[in-house]
């Protein structure tokens, strides 16, 4: 019967963790209006989360655009469809790669720094000090960061896709020699602003909520020790990435199931 008890304890622990996270999320939503009234805090966080992630996002977008154009060309030229290179690159970036790769990079670049920052604030008892001064640390510390992350993520994803398309244009038109007019016109004819671009942005907003929330939760609930902060930072990356990938499948199935 021992193993049965272990199984039960594990299941209960998992359920408790989920419930705790869900309540934490609701709490966070409740203090968001307070953060909106102190917009200067949010702006500082957009700078820390968004602006500082810009370089890695733009560099990755450009690289992905380059490589995607080169690889797709080899596949498409076999079928004499090299002209649709722009379309293939555009749709894969705008629908999938832009939101997903941005979210993965975001979890690594911004999520970890959020977790470490809040974890160390907790370890240094700054959070406890705030509570003593009757300042709600969720409203003062977490909510501005959450809003900053949720605002920054779609902007980063858009920039990733835009830079990727420009990168693909450089390779396709400059290197391979596909006609520039053809490259753009097939995209304009076949990429829909609401269905493709709009859904991509909606995806990245959802990923922004996932990544930022996981980072904040892990930081806030960390053990206030160096090992605890290190463990929480690692968990941030793992849980955010898995959450993004899982959610991406669900969202894709919902958004693009009909042709």
């Amino acid at each position: 019967m021992n193993w049965l008890a272990i199984l039960g304890a594990r299941a209960l622990a998992v359920m408790e963790g989920w419930g705790h996270a869900a309540l934490f999320f609701l709490d966070l939503l409740r203090v968001l209006p307070a953060a909106l009234r102190r917009l200067s805090l949010v702006i500082v966080q957009i700078h820390a989360i968004g602006n500082r992630s810009l370089v890695i996002i733009l560099a990755s977008g450009l690289a992905v655009g380059f490589v995607l154009a080169l690889q797709m060309y080899y596949a498409l030229v076999t079928y004499g469809a090299a002209e649709s290179l722009g379309l293939v690159v555009n749709l894969s970036l705008v629908r999938e790669l832009g939101p997903v790769v941005t979210a993965l990079l975001f979890a690594g670049r911004a999520g970890t720094s959020l977790t470490a920052e809040i974890g160390l604030m907790k370890a240094g008892e700054q959070i406890a000090a705030m509570e003593l001064m009757a300042i709600d640390p969720r409203a003062r510390v977490l909510a501005p960061r959450f809003l900053g992350g949720v605002i920054a993520m779609p902007l980063l994803a858009i920039l990733f896709s835009a830079v990727g398309i420009i990168g693909a244009w450089v390779v396709a038109v400059g290197l391979i020699g596909i006609d520039a007019g053809n490259f753009w016109s097939i995209q304009q004819a076949r990429v829909d602003i609401w269905r493709d671009v709009g859904n991509g942005i909606a995806k990245s907003a959802v990923f922004g909520v996932i990544c930022t929330f996981v980072a904040l939760y892990q930081g806030y609930e960390t053990q206030a020790t160096p090992e605890g902060v290190a463990y929480a930072t690692t968990r941030t990356v793992v849980i955010s990435s898995l959450g993004v990938l899982g959610m991406d499948f669900i969202l894709t199935a919902l958004m693009f199931s009909t042709p």
Partner: protein, 162 residues
């Protein structure tokens, strides 16, 4: 860095994101095409629309003049009713014919309009009378096989029947 500096940088970041979105919307998606431009609708009935899809282009002499806005089945005649959205700048005569054509061998299907000689033009909401259905490969092959078989039969009968 001062507060002003951070605000400026965030402003720059948001502006950059907006420019990126505009770039995607106008240059790499369909917002710039017919968004807000003046169009009128025509309809056409086809016996078979093949693989025609909503948002497929409408072309006349190869020039894109509009797009397909909806496709439905007429419950009485069992014909496909295709609604077309044509740019106001392009007017077509009353006896214009519509065909469903394919761009290249494996390309997408589109509606081709061939202007007739009538002096009156099609008005908004009019139906195009003369239509030609999409070529369905299976029908084409079976026609070919039947005509082959008929030829072979005719040869055996010493040209008794065609």
């Amino acid at each position: 860095m001062g507060k002003r500096g951070i605000e400026t940088l965030v402003g720059l970041f948001v502006l950059l994101g907006t420019v990126g979105l505009l770039f995607i919307a106008l240059k790499a998606a369909n917002l710039g095409n017919f968004g807000g431009t003046d169009t009128y609708t025509l309809s056409a009935r086809f016996d078979n629309i093949g693989g025609l899809k909503v948002r497929a282009p409408v072309r006349s002499a190869g020039v894109s003049v509009g797009r397909v806005t909806s496709i439905s089945l007429d419950p009485k005649t069992y014909q496909g009713v295709v609604t077309l959205e044509v740019l106001r700048g392009y007017q077509f005569p009353k006896d214009t014919s519509a065909k469903i054509l394919t761009a290249g061998l494996l390309g997408d299907q589109y509606v081709g309009l061939e202007a007739g000689g009538d002096e009156k033009n099609l008005a908004a909401g009019d139906a195009i009378k003369q239509t030609q259905s999409a070529v369905v490969l299976e029908n084409l092959i079976s026609q070919f096989l039947f005509s082959k078989a008929a030829d072979a039969g005719a040869g055996a009968d010493n040209g008794g029947k065609k």
